[in-house]
């Protein structure tokens, strides 16, 4: 058995992950990452990102009789995750901060510090599985389709995979909670964390206004127009918009209108009907592979949003970027979001960030 570092957020999943590792006979050390905005005095919020998260993780670690340490990664988190989030939105894209955080900040840091602590393996409570073969390791979706978190992990360096363990990936959420109750862990019935952890209210516009200079173009008024170029109104700053979001417009339109596109260069927000949201050609950049990269013509399963169902697609072109042809058009393909590619065995091949989308009709 080996020495394993387990990342403990203070939630039920990582609590059970730690417990399962202890049961398996590993020498386990629990770690909670202090990522941002903790005041030194405990707040009374019950989210997993407050100081309460650290205290809950510590209590679980105490109950399991394993050491528990706090790693301060606030500086890295602010730079790699929060600043990137603000920068992406300010350029009219819709970022996935959880991809940055999970794929990079968390595991990179855990791996480095884990090595310093003499740990051979790094574990977490993510709902994903990893298969360790003699030649290679593969990342797979978690068993529970409602909780699968593979979407957040495509961007991690492939070289890390052999060192990772995901003890709850083979369980459903229900089974995890049942184990937690059986073990009488204090986190057994803790509510899920849902929102982006550093935007607990869900209102990221406030965060952008706080972190961007007031004169930033993303916060200046601009035109709202149709694809045809017809101007139909004004907005108070495109930083407030996401592709696919329903846009309330004065003046009355017979159909609901949705944001189709954000043109940061001209500060224009393009809106249209629900039909106009559908696209089937997706351009993807910033690629990272956890398996051998697919060749052009390879059929894959593509997931373009967290919690979205994967769709059939063909890799039609690949070099340092990739073009994907979807079998069926999808609504609200958003630049900035991750596109994660799977094989038909739920194995994560790799992924990238959506750069743009179009329809075959538009190309022909």
């Amino acid at each position: 058995m080996s020495r394993v570092l387990v990342a403990m957020s203070g939630g039920v999943d990582s609590s059970v992950a730690a417990a399962l590792l202890v049961e398996a006979g590993h020498e386990v050390v629990g770690v909670t990452m202090k990522t941002f905005c903790f005041s030194e005095t405990p707040s009374h919020s019950k989210t997993c990102c407050g100081l309460d998260g650290i205290m809950d993780a510590k209590r679980v670690a105490d109950a399991l009789d394993i050491p528990h340490y706090v790693f301060d990664v606030e500086e890295d988190f602010t730079r790699d995750v929060i600043d990137d989030f603000v920068s992406e939105y300010s350029q009219g894209r819709t970022p996935n901060p959880c991809v940055n955080c999970n794929s990079n900040t968390k595991f990179k840091d855990l791996l480095a510090r884990g090595e310093a602590l003499g740990c051979e393996r790094i574990a977490s409570g993510h709902y994903v599985r990893v298969e360790h073969g003699s030649q290679r390791s593969s990342l797979l979706r978690g068993i529970d389709p409602d909780k699968d978190q593979s979407y957040f992990l495509w961007a991690m360096p492939r070289s890390m995979l052999p060192k990772l363990l995901f003890p709850v990936g083979a369980l459903t959420k229900g089974e995890v909670r049942a184990r937690a109750r059986e073990l009488e862990l204090i986190t057994a019935d803790k509510p899920e964390s849902q929102e982006i952890c550093f935007v607990p209210t869900g209102n990221y516009r406030d965060l952008l206004e706080k972190r961007l200079p007031p004169v930033h173009p993303a916060l200046q008024p601009g035109k709202v127009l149709r694809r045809s170029g017809e101007v139909i109104g004004e907005h108070g700053g495109y930083a407030g918009f996401t592709v696919g979001q329903r846009k309330g417009l004065r003046g009355g339109f017979p159909e609901p209108m949705f944001v189709l596109e954000i043109r940061a260069g001209t500060r224009e927000v393009v809106v249209g009907t629900r039909d106009e949201l559908f696209e089937d050609i997706v351009e993807i950049g910033g690629l990272n592979w956890l398996e051998e990269p697919p060749e052009a013509g390879t059929p894959v399963r593509a997931q373009l949003r967290y919690r979205a169902t994967a769709v059939s697609a063909i890799v039609s072109r690949i070099d340092d970027a990739l073009t994907l042809e979807l079998a069926e058009p999808l609504a609200a393909v958003s630049p900035g979001q991750s596109a994660v590619l799977f094989d038909d065995q739920d194995r994560v091949l790799g992924g990238g960030r959506i750069v743009g989308a179009s329809t075959r009709a538009a190309i022909s």
Binding site: F38, E40, L51, D72, R113, A116
Partner: protein, 386 residues
């Protein structure tokens, strides 16, 4: 490899003599010392015997010993209680503290200053153990001044010049409080030293019970209580007395003082050998305040090129129990005010404090030095790779 406890400045295990002395007062001799019946009388007699014992150990009169519930409480009562006694006639006293005080004095002083209760003067302390006394002299000349300077610094083991400060304070008629929590049992401590009016000691740092302490209050030094209630401890620390705690604490104090000279000799040899090994095996390492007079039980090291928190974690993983500066709150990674005061806020060395105790052996320290060299190597490799 067995785990090695080198965090005696944080707390110590209770000695068997102490447990034995306390045992009757946790069961059959349970009375309230304020009661007039035989149960009460028995308890009261034990409490006063404990007071005699503690007073003897510190060369004080029994009437000068107030039992409290710990070092923090004694520090608060000594500092605030004295300042509030002075301000009863409307005078705003000056409080002079050293820059390396424990939070129990440091935060108490800053809180009182922000409430307008006193004027605060901070006396810079240097790595060689000297204290800037010019601002103290100025304060003493200008009006009623309370001085609070610890005898031994808890993070570095530095011995502060209490005899010199005592003489100065006595000459000008101020009040000197000294936090002697880390001094008792480590260096000679006497309440008879000229100039000392108030002195704090704690039980659990000297193999006594947790939650016990005392404040020596020199006869005729007026202090105001912080708590109000019954008339216990001359109404300066009301609340039903912890007889078992007082007995245990007094026993531990007497033993610590009796054994101080021999134990100091033994520990200073062990510590010097440990530091010799560290310096031989690890590069870019500093003995913090190595140029000052130090408590023989503390070795505080500054280590370059490593993350301080991770270093403590890695030592713990390999079974070596230490602290950074002092034990800090969970989740808190704020730097130590003591290390900043001594080495400047730009100092990048990680601090690790090894504090030795009664059960520390040479083989413990050989193991600690070897593990330290190993984990420092691992941490430096990590820093290089990132």
């Amino acid at each position: 490899m067995h785990p090695v406890y080198l965090d005696h400045a944080a707390t110590t295990p209770m000695r068997s003599e102490v447990q034995e002395a306390m045992a009757p007062f946790l069961s059959e001799t349970f009375g309230n010392p304020s009661s007039l019946h035989r149960w009460g009388r028995k308890a009261s007699a034990a409490l006063e015997r404990a007071r005699d014992l503690a007073a003897g150990a510190l060369e004080a009169d029994p009437g000068e010993i107030l039992f409290t519930r710990g070092g923090t409480e004694s520090d608060n009562l000594g500092v605030l209680g004295r300042c509030r006694a002075i301000s009863q006639d409307g005078t705003v006293p000056t409080l002079a503290i050293s820059s390396v005080e424990h939070h129990a004095v440091f935060d108490t002083a800053r809180g009182a200053e922000s409430r307008g209760e006193l004027r605060l003067v901070t006396l810079p302390v240097h790595t060689d153990g000297t204290v800037d006394l010019a601002p103290l002299e100025t304060a003493l000349r200008n009006g009623p001044t309370v001085v609070s300077v610890m005898w031994v610094n808890n993070e570095t083991g530095m011995v502060l010049p209490i005899p010199e400060i005592g003489r100065l304070v006595e000459e000008h008629g101020g009040t000197l409080h000294t936090d002697a929590v880390q001094a008792v049992g480590k260096i000679p401590v006497s309440a008879q030293l000229p100039g000392i009016s108030l002195l704090t000691a704690s039980g659990h740092k000297i193999y006594g019970p947790r939650g016990t302490g005392l404040l020596f209050v020199r006869d005729a030094t007026e202090i105001a209580p912080l708590l109000y209630g019954g008339g216990q401890e001359r109404a300066l620390r009301p609340g039903t007395e912890d007889v078992a705690g007082a007995v245990g604490f007094a026993t531990a104090l007497r033993l610590a003082v009796d054994e101080q000279a021999d134990e100091a000799m033994r520990l200073s040899v062990l510590r010097d050998a440990f530091e010799g090994r560290v310096l031989a095996e690890i590069t870019d390492v500093r003995i913090n305040v190595g140029g000052a007079t130090r408590s023989p039980s503390i070795s505080s090291l500054g280590i370059g090129g490593v993350d301080g928190q991770l270093l403590l974690n890695a030592l713990d993983m390999e079974g070596i129990a230490t602290s950074g500066g002092s034990a800090c709150a969970s989740g808190s990674t704020a730097g130590s005010h003591v290390i900043s005061a001594l080495f400047g806020s730009a100092d990048t060395m990680a601090t690790v404090r090894f504090s030795l105790g009664r059960h520390t052996t040479e083989s413990d320290l050989v193991q600690a030095a070897a593990v330290l060299a190993q984990v420092v190597g691992r941490l430096r490799a990590m820093e290089k790779a990132s």
